[in-house]
Point group: C2
Chain length 359, copies 2
């Protein structure tokens, strides 16, 4: 049976002032009427029964997360006692799945990506399932064909081609590459052999647990102790006690970079991890002057800007160009688009300046 | 005895989004802890007893105006049934003063100017009173020595010098000139004979009424009918009925441009009519990068901008230059400083765009 694991643990400052400590990116309506988390659940609803959709989040976001997903069983919102990166998150979820359904297959995906259209996403999952049917040990990843020498993503180098019955483009993975510098990224782009790592995975729960045991035995052992307590009175206490002691490492580094079982399917969908306001602009309405707008906005003699107003507010611009203007929760950000990399530093400044209320 | 007439009838859009239809410029705390109206009253409080400070405002702003001036007698807030420009306003006030105090002298001033320091203002009033003591028919105006070829102000050309006992610089007025074009303004500046008309006047109520009768007989007659009704049960009805029929004309054009009694005293104070956000910036705190800031503002790598946040809000800027950013009442303005002349057009656009709530 198919299970979905939605990783909804992120916080981050790149959508400040809309994102706040208690309202991280995945809980926002950034593009569309539903939040990114809700859209992520919507995307798998036709493939996976609601009983088998697991959302893993942080303890301090669990309530807000559950409130956005009222049609999921409450026990399917799993709250991590402490953030331990994706290997522990995926391992815990795999353990939970395997206990209920030893042959279960899981789709793992972050709660804060944009993927369009859903039909193409569904087709890519079908390709992954076909690969796993042929090779139950396969760890299927998805790669996005790069369109620019992006230094903010990990890359996957394709190896031998793999035949998939539905004609999807798939390859064995030659190797994973962490975020490259600009020169390396340009080289990657020119070879045509490198794909962006979309951070979305499909595998049998038993398969990933097996690989974790091989490549991260201590982590696997800790997870086993937690999973053994599932269904007992000790579960909460065990999770609280052991989870924070697990190694903090991404699943890519812990397993995927080391395993020989990894396959990459070329994503047939439009994908973005929507890393900042500039990336979001591609998904917003454009006015005639090339401004990406959201909410109540009045622009005069202005172009090439990203203009976002919260419900009930108004953003009015006059004669501006190349700006990001965002109004949310009493705070206003006005930034030059090409300076957005400094947003994190700006937000960190708030606390020292006595403006913690806006964090 | 000395009376003060404060003209608080303006509305306008040049301080949008802080100024709104029901909260015009003079009712705002633009510079300092007190509103411009309150600062204007404060400025005359040591010269004029509170019983003799009259504030003339519009019917729809009377309540908000009175609320800011709780230590003035309620009947001293005079509400015009319709806006009829300054000749009718001054004439009405002169009639009210003359009725209570036939020999009364009145200071007339707008409620939305910045004048610093108050001591210099007081000295200028003393000079005016000395001139009137020597010539009871004199109409004293104040002129500001121009520092730039400003096209937004009226000018006063100096005539014969006039000796004042306290040594103030005063002249007969050769003529008034309305807002000039840029070339003319440059010429005015180069001659050294032209002063900006500060719009502040001192004269005997009887003297201005006399000149109104000479130069605007119909207007004077209408005012007389209204003044005759003061103290009777018919006053409100008479004011409501007749005031809106009075000629709509500035006191400058109605009387000052035509009268031979006009004297100009060179203002010994720093004066500004604070025409827009740029003009206000001169009175705000500057940060090290030359940003004029008010309220909660965090700036990174930004300069030469005007950054205004309302109480309880926050404005954060990143990498910007030469902008005006103002947050107020749910609305945000981001404008290039050199495009502020277009603000009126932008605000007018709001109504058509369904954003009347922000007007």
């Amino acid at each position: 049976m198919l299970h979905a694991i939605i990783m909804a643990g992120g916080s981050g400052t790149r959508f400040w002032p809309r994102s706040r400590r208690d309202r991280p990116k995945q809980l926002l309506r950034l593009a569309g009427e539903r939040t990114m988390l809700q859209q992520t659940v919507d995307r798998v609803r036709s493939l996976v029964d609601r009983e088998r959709i697991l959302v893993v989040t942080g303890a301090d976001q669990a309530a807000a997360t559950a409130a956005q997903l009222e049609d999921l069983p409450a026990e399917n919102i799993v709250s991590e006692p402490a953030p331990r990166d994706t290997a522990a998150c995926v391992g815990l979820a795999a353990g939970l799945v395997a206990r209920r359904d030893p042959e279960g297959v899981m789709i793992v995906m972050p709660a804060d990506h944009v993927i369009e259209p859903p039909e193409a996403f569904h087709a890519s999952i079908a390709s992954a399932l076909a690969i796993i049917a042929a090779d139950p040990a396969a760890l299927v990843t998805f790669g996005v064909m790069p369109t620019r020498p992006e230094t903010g993503y990990g890359y996957i180098e394709r190896g031998e081609p793999l035949e998939v019955e539905d004609g999807a483009i798939a390859h064995r993975v030659a190797r994973f590459r962490e975020k490259p510098d600009l020169e390396t990224a340009k080289e990657f782009l020119s070879t045509g052999r490198f794909l962006w790592n979309a951070g979305i995975f499909v595998w049998r729960a038993a398969a990933i647990l097996e690989e974790l045991k091989t490549h991260r035995p201590l982590l696997a052992e800790g997870l086993e102790l937690i999973i053994e307590a599932v269904g007992t009175d000790d579960f909460s206490e065990t999770l609280e006690r052991l989870f924070p002691t697990l190694e903090r490492v991404p699943i890519d580094r812990a397993v995927l970079e080391r395993s020989s079982k990894v396959v990459v399917v070329e994503a047939p969908y439009r994908w973005s991890d929507v890393g900042d306001w500039r990336a979001l602009a591609a998904f917003l309405e454009l006015d005639l002057a090339g401004n990406a707008v959201q909410g109540n906005v009045v622009a005069r003699d202005s172009r090439d800007s990203i203009l976002v107003s919260e419900e009930g507010g108004l953003v009015a611009v006059l004669g501006v160009e190349g700006l990001v203007v965002v109004q949310a929760g009493g705070a206003v950000l006005v930034a030059r688009k090409d300076q957005l990399d400094q947003l994190k530093a700006l937000v960190e400044k708030l606390s020292g300046a006595g403006h913690s209320a806006f964090l």
